[in-house]
Amino acid sequence: RTTRGAEREHALEELEQRLIEADVGVEAAVIIRDRLEEYLRTSPGPSLEELVGVIRKQLLDLMRAPVPPPLAEPEERVAPYVVLIAGVNGSGKTTSLGKLARHYAKEGHRVMVGAADTFRAAAVEQLAIWAQRAGADLVAQKPGADPASVAFDAVTAAKARGHSVVLLDTAGRQHTKVNLMNELAKIRRVVNKAHSGAPHESLLVLDATVGQNAVSQARLFHEVLELDGIFLAKVDGTAKGGVVVPIIRELGLPVRWLGVGEGIDDIEPFSPERFVEAMLA
């Protein structure tokens, strides 16, 4: 009986380790482990498969976002549909925006891209290349210009010229820098002034390699932007991006997109089932 207990302890620890190594965080890992122990009490000698099945179900339950998805697709009556992209430095915003521009262009939309990162070296040049690859138009100003002014111009130009989708790139920023978060709030207000109802979608681009700090990022960007969802980039690496589990639990934010590479077509709509499978692989 004691070897059975020790085996069980060992199996539970292995499973808990896998979850923590997937970056789900200690709290979620403990919740799942407790559920497993409960399951083991009531079911005699389950197979490893059954245990993984319990974990799978737990993860999917934890990922059920209570918030209904917003305008999932641009609708004619709100045109142009405005998407605001934000996130910390280097998370993959500009590249992800390029992928989204391509996605909407393939669906037949006329896409406008706004280069509201006026700070980082060659940010506009980088975005211009993505816009060109996606077949989108670009609005930009000189480096050092007011980002809110560029965002305003992009939305206004899109309205005047009949674009149906506007994608706004912003500069990477640490969520703990109040002045930079205020700048983001200002961009949002100005965009709303340019077009009532805009931004229709505010997306946080998260790097899948980030650890528990992602929760803090999501919280603070959500406070400023009332996020509609998350674009999880770089899932083609070995990081599992499990930190979206506590984010979904705590903030109810859905993951909308996955970035699966550095090419313009390396984008997938989020599927909780496939995501959980990859996490348990």
Partner: protein, 291 residues
């Protein structure tokens, strides 16, 4: 805070006798939690906690501080010891020019850090050449060129040739022009991308950089070790630069990567400006990890 949580556990000890095994075990659970929340690697945490257990159990309870503070002290000192010495210096000794190669995952801060290192060395009166060896990312060459112009340091680029040739060409030019330091900015890549990792080995074989530094994002979670180990295996890194520590990331990846590779953390990035590079201080990172 961790100290407060440990105070609760030890409140029954009342400042006499020894740190008993049961209280220490409870304390270790809290310490383990704090380290995992700080993104320290699971296995590194396991080894670390085992080490603390050994040194804490049976310790005389000091009368000058609370047992909770005493245990935090033990943990803190062990963290500092593990994180390694104060900033190990740049490897100047050897043939000139000194070639510094920066590598790492996508978006970790290599290009910006290349310019920061250039700025630091220029301030020390070194003649610097920044090399744009990222031929993949849109406008990567422009990005580095703009930074090089801002700093008024040498800049090297070449179109339509592979990165290895760019780097060997740069070192040839640096040798002719008696440049002190050549800094190679390489493209971000996944450690599981075989041809891209081969490319790095090829560059290293071609120009034999004396400094091979991994630029690691300070917010990296459990994946830090996987990536660091692979880069280390291919290149035998001489050090690590941890970036973006100006946010509220606890930076546990620093401990993980140091513990697993044994390589020194030489600098930390603390902002987007070119002067935002600091030498590594284990004491500060230890406090940060402990929260």
């Amino acid at each position: 805070t961790l100290t407060a949580r440990l105070e609760d556990i030890f409140s029954k000890l009342q400042g006499k006798g020894k740190l008993d095994e049961k209280s220490v075990r409870e304390a270790l659970r809290e310490i383990r939690l704090a380290l995992l929340e700080a993104d320290v690697n699971y296995r590194v945490v396991k080894d670390f906690v085992a080490r603390i257990q050994e040194s804490a159990v049976g310790e005389e309870v000091l009368s000058s501080i609370t047992p909770g503070q005493q245990v935090v002290g033990i943990v803190y000192r062990e963290l500092v010891r593990l994180l390694g010495d104060e900033a190990e210096p740049i490897l100047w000794k050897g043939p000139m020019p000194l070639v510094i190669m920066l590598v790492g995952l996508q978006g970790s801060g290599k290009t910006t850090t290349a310019a920061k290192v250039a700025s630091l060395l220029k301030a020390r009166n070194k003649k610097v050449l920044l090399v744009a060896a990222d031929v993949y990312r849109p406008a990567a060459v422009d990005q580095l060129r703009i930074l090089a112009d801002q700093l008024e340091v040498g800049f090297y680029r070449m179109d339509d040739v592979p990165p290895k040739e760019i780097c060997t060409g740069a070192v040839e030019r640096a040798t002719r022009e008696i440049v002190d330091v050549v800094i190679l900015d390489t493209a971000g890549r996944l450690h599981i991308n075989e041809p891209m990792m081969e490319e790095l080995s090829g560059i290293a074989a071609g120009v034999k950089p004396r400094e091979r530094l991994l630029v690691l994002d300070g917010m990296t979670g459990q994946d830090a070790v996987r990536a660091a180990q692979e880069f280390d295996k291919r290149l035998d890194l001489t050090g690590i630069i941890m970036t973006k520590l100006d946010g509220d990331a606890r930076g546990g990846a620093a401990l993980s990567v140091r513990a697993v590779t044994g390589k020194p953390i030489k600098f930390i990035g603390v902002g987007e400006k070119l002067e935002d590079l600091e030498p590594f201080h284990p004491s500060r990172i230890a406090s940060r990890i402990l929260g």
